[in-house]
């Protein structure tokens, strides 16, 4: 996993709620046996018509917006557990998704892939949407070490929560397997105490 470093970038607004992982990456693209290349089909059916013509009105097709942060409505990533959704967002170039809350499985998957899900208050989310929509050049700064997201122009900022273990993993590029493998002795000892039917 890549180390997460402090990020200063513009953002792309997607003020839609309950965005499910079937939209992020439709099931017909889950037939691959590798992790690479899912970015091409990120939000496939929102980006393209069935005949592959670009849907101009969709925000990812709007050239005035770019950046490594996706700002989305509440309950982002609900539905299917497909980790391909996190792979697609990362492969497309996103490093952060901001929302007022995330679906649990998506959040876990994102954290396991170096994609930082930042939960902010509904008020700060609203502020982000209005700043970015008013001025697409608005830059945000994400400082994971300080657990802080800020709007550069107006200095408005918010603290975000992340558990200290996952923070350490992201900052160092560690994943859970490294940690779990170091606990093999405890796992084997636990198994000896288990009564199984």
């Amino acid at each position: 996993m890549e180390k997460f470093e402090t990020l200063i970038t513009t953002a792309i607004p997607l003020p839609m709620e309950d965005v499910d992982t079937d939209q992020i990456i439709p099931a017909r693209f889950l037939k691959a046996t590798t992790r690479e290349g899912f970015g091409d089909n990120l939000f496939r059916d929102w980006r393209f018509e069935q005949n592959n013509v670009t849907k101009k009105e969709f925000v990812l097709n709007n050239p005035i917006y770019e950046g490594k942060i996706l700002v989305a409505g509440k309950n982002f990533g609900c539905g299917s557990s497909r980790e391909h959704a996190a792979w697609a967002l990362f492969d497309y170039g996103f490093r952060v998704v901001v929302s007022s809350f995330f679906a649990d499985i998506f959040k876990g998957n994102a954290l396991n892939n170096g994609l930082l899900p930042i939960t902010v208050s509904p008020e700060f989310l609203h502020e982000l949407f209005s700043c970015v929509e008013k001025n697409p050049q608005t830059e945000l700064i994400v400082d994971l070490e300080a657990q802080r997201i800020a709007i550069l122009d107006n200095g408005k900022h918010e603290h975000f929560e992340i558990d200290s273990y996952k923070k350490m993993c992201l900052l160092n590029g560690y994943d859970d397997i490294d940690y779990l493998l170091s606990k093999k002795d405890k796992i084997e000892a636990f198994e000896k105490t288990q009564v199984i039917f």
């Binding site: 709620e17 499910d20 992790r35 499985i105 273990y165 859970d176």
Partner: protein
């Protein structure tokens, strides 16, 4: 200390606690399938790791398989590659695989319970969000991502924050024609598609107790549609009776000992929950969804409501536009050309029996295509032994072979663009059943009634 059922099972599986609040949780059973496992196998190989506990993994092919001519090679090249990759990975690693052609093949959440693999008190995971189904047996079962599939393969453990606890109690007697699918769609319509986020749900109350194991599985299955980590129901005599004698169930004295232990799996009187809800069974009617998430549901006699604070206006408008519905519409009388009866939510023998019982002596409307996709080879076999296939055939319903099928349209079973499909599956997301397809979620009885009339109907008027 008074404990919830969830906490009892969770605490029995903690290997160690980690600074920062996470627990190392031991996993008793790991189901895998062709779609979310290949990258996990590759990951293990890259790290030079072996599978830690081979006997705790069960594999099947379900998401991507055709539901016609399963004895022939898969024609779609990408699907074939993915299914073959699973076969190779299982062979290479010595894992049990119930693949195509095997007598136990089927949807992962159907075969686990029917083979007696799923048991009370266990921790169960699978790279599939509907793993919550297994909670019907009083187990902690939940969906995971592929990185976690790899973690479980490598260590039989996961690093997790303990979810909060929620209890949903339903009391009283259900009206005739109302099934457990209606119960969960009703709860979803009240709590919304995000109402369970961060929680693990225990379903309780006299209505839940009165349900069969199949019906309980339908409810736990859709816990994830509220955003919950999972759902569970305390085991009781019905649970023990269901498990008894199944292929991998404990036998003889060991079974009796197991039951003794399983009987300790309940929530202590007075144990605390973070959230509690209570519903009355008599308030529940046959349900249908009108939007593009499973929380957008109404009683069949209601009309499409105005948006409220729980649904964003943009999402609401987008959903109605996609479905070509308007605020204030009733769904009764809406012409529907596709009916799908299947998926890990409603493809068990009891679902097929209910449908057969209803359609016996009736036939489908001319405009309708009806697909019945059994949850497993065993369900298919039993349906044939009971003569249900003859009833379906006489009614013009097509009985196919087992798989996830049109629930997610990964195989050829897709609903055409713009068409409505009344579906016993679990998700009505945009494009879920095929690009541009419009899904209306409902119970197997509502789906059967629609198949017969060719339009949405309140099944109670036909009983």
């Amino acid at each position: 200390m008074k404990k919830t059922l969830f906490d009892k099972i969770w605490e029995q599986h903690i290997v160690d606690k980690v600074d920062g609040g996470r627990d190392i949780l031991y996993i008793d059973k790991h189901f895998i399938h062709e779609v979310t496992s290949p990258q996990a196998f590759t990951g293990l190989e890259k790290r030079g790791l072996e599978i830690f506990r081979k006997n705790k993994i069960v594999a099947t092919a379900d998401h991507n398989v055709p539901t016609l001519n399963q004895h022939l090679p898969i024609t779609e090249p990408l699907s074939r590659t993915q299914v073959n990759t699973l076969i190779e990975n299982c062979e290479k690693n010595g894992l049990e695989l119930y693949g195509l052609g095997h007598q136990y093949q089927g949807i992962v959440h159907v075969i686990g319970p029917e083979l007696g693999i799923t048991k009370p008190g266990m921790t169960i995971v699978c790279g599939d969000s509907h793993t919550s189904t297994h909670g019907a047996f009083g187990s902690i079962a939940f969906g995971i991502g592929t990185s976690q599939v790899e973690q479980v393969m490598a260590t039989q453990c996961l690093l997790l924050n303990r979810p909060k606890r929620m209890r949903i109690t339903i009391d009283g007697e259900l009206q005739n024609g109302v099934l457990s699918k209606d119960i969960i769609l009703y709860i979803l319509s009240k709590l919304t598609a995000s109402g369970g986020t961060g929680h693990f749900i225990e379903y309780a109350g006299s209505t839940i107790r009165s349900l069969s194991m199949e019906a309980r599985m339908t409810i736990c299955n859709m816990s994830i549609e509220m955003g919950a980590r999972g759902g569970l129901i305390a085991p009781d005599e019905k649970t023990f009776e269901y498990i008894k004698g199944r292929k991998f169930a404990p036998q003889g004295e060991i079974f009796d000992k197991a039951v003794e232990y399983w009987k300790t799996l309940y929530t202590d009187e007075g144990a605390e929950f973070d959230k509690k809800y209570h519903f009355e069974a008599e308030d529940i009617e046959p349900m249908v969804t009108y939007g593009t998430n499973p929380g957008m549901g109404i009683k069949i006699t209601d009309s499409i409501p105005a948006p409220d604070a729980s649904v964003g206006i943009q999402s609401y408008e987008k959903a109605l536009k996609y479905m070509d519905f308007e605020k204030g519409n009733s769904l009764i009388g809406k012409k529907v050309n596709y009916v799908f009866i299947g998926s890990c939510t409603n493809s068990r023998i009891e679902d097929l029996r209910l449908v057969a019982d209803f359609v016996k002596g009736k036939s489908k409307a001319d405009n309708v295509n009806v697909w019945i996709v059994p949850g497993s080879k065993l369900v298919e076999k039993q349906a044939k032994e009971e003569g249900l296939d003859k009833i379906f055939q006489a009614a013009g319903f097509e009985l196919r072979e087992p798989g996830c099928s049109a629930c997610l349209g990964m195989n050829e079973d897709k609903i055409p663009k713009g068409e409505y499909c009344i579906s016993t599956s679990n998700r009505n997301f945009e494009g879920r059943q095929g690009q541009g397809a419009r899904t209306i979620l409902a119970s197997p009885l509502m789906a059967a009634a629609t198949a017969v009339t060719g339009k949405i109907v309140d099944v109670r008027t036909l009983l």
